[in-house]
Symmetry: C2
Subunit: 133 residues, 2 copies
DNA sequence: TTCTGTATTTAGAATAAATCTAATTTAAGA
DNA sequence: TCTTAAATTAGATTTATTCTAAATACAGAA
């Protein structure tokens, strides 16, 4: 599973990369680099370096295998759900859950009564056109 | 200006707080804590501690005088524009500009041809209702 | 198979944002 | 003036991430 995914994206599937990728595929809670290290280190016969976790995560992001998510200051989270989607941050628990892209239909209206929205923000990424002279 | 704003939000307007608040009111580029320190330290007769900058920024956020913005990993930016609005991140320059709330009308459609949108993401903050048993 | 070069991993050092600590200053009120 | 709480300060500390330099792994050539 992880193995083929890596192959298809042109990333050599080393044991460390496979195990980290699989962990992210199985996660639904947007783990941090540290949570990845904790969750993965015992499933390798060798000691896993923190540097390898960061190297791998950066490689995976660059190859489009996972997405980096920065919703809170201080640490980046990682998401194997690469389909376009939004996030809902529970301000009580800090839990970040996925919101399907289609759920946000007319002008970001109702997600449903189970979400008590206090605030939301759309972040656009792109390039600003040069002003025409 | 900054003085009255602080008063009205119940924050004692010390020289450090006034000068930092004024700097943010005059900024339109979402400065970081370090940029605030650099931009402000020479307009005080005393040396300004980094701790004071962070203390003040946290106080201002808590009092609703400014907003903390975390769009990129690693550092928080600060925004004296407290009217609800979105942000546009120029992926070439890193520049973050404000998008008026109303601009995003039907399902986050066109901002106008000057914005070449590569990606966007809506972040919701709120509380998840308990599942009814 | 052995050789060789490149990619990957590793432990630990370095960096950078933010917070903490403990001492000092400020300033309001009795 | 005296008291006291709040605010500020320099510097140390913490935490996330990156860097460095050495060790490993491993594919391809000979
Ligand atoms: Mn602005
Ligand atoms: Mn940091
Ligand atoms: Zn997600
Ligand atoms: Zn803004």
């Amino acid at each position: 599973m992880a193995d083929e995914l890596l192959q298809s994206r042109g990333v050599k599937p080393t044991p460390q990369r496979v195990v980290i990728t699989q962990f992210l595929l199985d996660s639904h809670d947007h783990p941090t680099a540290d949570e990845v290290l904790e969750g993965v280190k015992d499933s390798l016969p060798v000691s896993l370096s923190r540097a390898t976790v960061y190297n791998t995560l950066n490689t995976l992001v660059e190859a489009g295998v996972v997405k980096a998510v920065s919703l809170e200051p201080g640490r980046t989270r990682y998401d194997a759900n690469t389909i376009e989607h939004h996030h809902f941050v529970d301000t009580k628990t800090g839990k970040i859950i996925d919101i399907p892209w289609e759920k946000v239909s007319q002008l970001c209206q109702t997600l449903g009564p189970e979400y008590k929205i206090q605030d939301y923000q759309i972040t656009f990424f792109g390039e600003l056109a040069e002003p025409t002279p």
